[in-house]
Symmetry: C2
């Protein structure tokens, strides 16, 4: 396991160097299956695609369902199928990036496999990680799956419109997140009502200027 | 990977033999983080604990939050912490079962780590697998994460009370499930309204008589 992670880190470092040289900012977007990553991505592209040049890599076990959805937003998208594998690794990213014109891209968004555990362990050469936690998953998830929240620069508390129909304790979740990762940025978002999306996109846009 | 799975299968076979000799039926309960496994388990125990003798093994990366919840239901519970590991394996189950009085148990429920990918790959010696898919996760999940639905004898479409607030297509999800696994048993459940829980518990009780 140590060897696998070591080899992965080397390729991730090479990816990071390559991205940096080409002026590409890379976000590794993670979260449970059904947390709303792809829908959030669609809404994000609709707000940012005329401001910066974005490309997307979609990671899934099987199917190209997500890539097909993203393609409709009019951005370049590459589907990676892991054939059952539970996360993306640096080598997969390196391979598909050969077919992207990185010089023409400002922001590369990598939507990882839906999984709150394994993707957090594999550096793919991103600038920062983002994790989507939907309200319907429960407020106990940060403490139960701490690594992904420690590793991520930002968390999106998504499907916030469903808050009244659940027993999710927003105050408790925010406290746990701050305990785990004091500098983590927290957004409350809903792709149904649009809540928080402008703030999120403003923040993301700022990150591409670093 | 092949070696890891091979070694796991051997221990799983020993577990299965042991469970069978002691008259214990074992259910491996799986699903995404926040699909509602623990709450479903609480409701299940409330309905069945006076009919059969049940014990629970709780698998989590960290914390004993779930075991503490289950303990309140008055059944024997053992917490396994995987320390970041994304699934339970047969050796973990073998180890903790040494401290259970298996002869006194009719049904052993193992709540796996919240993950729609990795747990499905590891036989722990169970009689059957059950997967919880919450409505808020989206109707595309069976085709995107097929293995877990192919491996499971039963799927619980949980949080069915939230159906009106989502775009989940129940007909489409049922069709995809039947395509992937024609004999899979499907329940629509809600731990908020109680919908489907009696039917589910009746089915589960029947399984312990096999």
């Amino acid at each position: 396991m140590k060897n696998i992670l070591g080899a992965n880190d080397e390729i991730a470092a090479a990816n990071r160097k390559n991205f940096s040289a080409r002026g590409v900012v890379v976000m590794n977007l993670m979260g449970s299956p059904g947390s709303g990553k792809t829908t959030l991505l669609e809404k994000t592209l609709a707000r940012l695609a005329d401001k910066i040049k974005i490309a997307v890599i979609e990671g899934d076990l099987f199917t190209a369902k997500d890539a097909e959805r993203i393609k409709r937003a009019g951005v370049d998208v590459i589907q990676i199928n892991t054939a059952g594998g539970c996360h993306l690794d640096a080598a997969m990213i390196q391979k598909v990036c050969a077919s992207l014109d990185l010089d023409a891209i400002d922001l590369l968004i990598v939507e990882n496999v839906g999984n709150l555990v394994c993707p957090a362990e594999f550096d793919i050469g991103e600038n920062f990680k983002a994790v989507v936690l939907s309200i319907t998953e429960g407020d106990d998830k940060p403490l139960k799956y701490p690594l992904i929240f420690k590793e991520s620069a930002v968390v999106l508390l998504n499907k916030i419109d469903l808050l009244p129909f659940t027993n999710f304790d927003l105050k408790s979740a925010r406290e746990d997140l701050s305990t785990l990762h004091p500098t983590i940025k927290i957004f409350e978002t809903s792709c149904t009502t649009g809540a928080g999306l402008d703030e999120w996109c403003t923040w993301l846009l700022e990150r591409t200027k670093i």
